[in-house]
């Protein structure tokens, strides 16, 4: 039962600067211009509160929760979710694969995930 803190972005995906960290999938810059949303989730049960993502985020999106998780750590949270540009730098540095970013059609109901 993992508590995924997620925030969602309604902006278009405008393609990565380089091939970044998504497993097996290739992101095509010139994909058809379709409304997409990104969902940035932190699995607060996986997270060990190391803070590496916090310091790696170029936009100060992340911070540390002040609630301890069942493992005894203070997990990362999105303190300024709106500033997230889904650059995935936080994902890249996270040693515990606690952060994921999904891309879904903008009409997908993320509350189900």
């Amino acid at each position: 039962m993992s508590t995924n803190k997620a925030h969602i972005c309604m902006k278009d995906g405008d393609g990565p600067k380089g091939a970044v960290g998504s497993s097996g999938e290739k992101h095509h810059p010139a994909s058809q211009p379709k409304k997409k949303r990104h969902i940035h989730r932190i699995d607060s049960e996986r997270c060990k509160g190391c803070g590496l993502c916090v310091s790696a985020c170029p936009n100060q999106v992340l911070g540390q929760s002040d609630h301890v998780n069942p493992k005894g750590y203070y997990p990362a949270v999105q303190v300024q979710p709106d500033k997230c540009i889904f650059c995935a730098l936080c994902c890249l540095i996270c040693p515990d694969v606690a952060i994921t970013i999904d891309e879904v059609a903008s009409d997908t109901d993320t509350r189900k995930t």
């Binding site: 060990k48 301890v68 069942p70 493992k71 005894g72």
Partner: protein, 180 residues
């Protein structure tokens, strides 16, 4: 007369240290003492526990399946060891991280929000000392002045920690008294 106390929690919660302080205090009283860690995986982040056996004669088995007393720093520890405590023993629970109780009627169970207390004192790592003090107060096994003395000696290399630990002892003892 033999006293057996188990200290259990996450690695890094200071559980081994609390056990050692208890053991040192017992040694000061010229008792036979064995401190036995159940040393976990060679790596970090697992659970850890240690048992301290104190006796006025030579201690045979250092291996205790059913301790008289338990100090549980986290939930898995309480769940695993709570039921092993001998009837009549004391169970000290870190209620900051454990939201359940052992459910036992035949023991003296005491909830102390040790991590929160420790947080307020400035470092969550002293939570185990808070619980230890509460335990000593409740069980009457080690007098508080002796505990203070041992802690002072233990941290003589890091004077900045002495005050915090002494405070932790006060808070822990207070909690035990408050819950009495």
């Amino acid at each position: 007369m033999q006293i057996e106390v188990m200290f259990a929690g996450f690695g890094g919660q200071g559980i081994m240290m609390a056990g050692k302080v208890f053991a040192r205090a017992a040694m000061e009283r010229k008792l036979e003492v064995v401190w036995v860690p159940s040393y976990g995986p060679e790596m970090r982040g697992g659970t850890a526990n240690c048992v301290v056996v104190v006796s006025d004669r030579a201690i045979g088995s250092p291996i205790i399946r059913n301790p008289q007393h338990l100090i549980a720093m986290n939930r898995p520890s309480l769940e695993k060891f709570g039921e092993m405590v001998k009837p009549g023993g004391v169970i000290l629970v870190n209620s900051s991280l454990v939201d359940v109780s052992s459910g036992r009627k035949d023991v003296d169970e005491l909830q102390v929000p040790a991590t929160d207390v420790a947080h307020d004192l400035g470092d969550v790592k002293v939570a185990s000392i808070v619980l230890l003090a509460a335990f000593c107060e409740r069980s009457g096994t080690i007098p508080l002045p002796l505990l203070r003395q041992v802690v002072t000696k233990e941290f003589k290399g890091q004077p900045e920690l002495i005050a915090m630990n002494l405070n932790a002892i006060e808070k822990g003892a207070d909690a035990a008294k408050a819950n009495a």
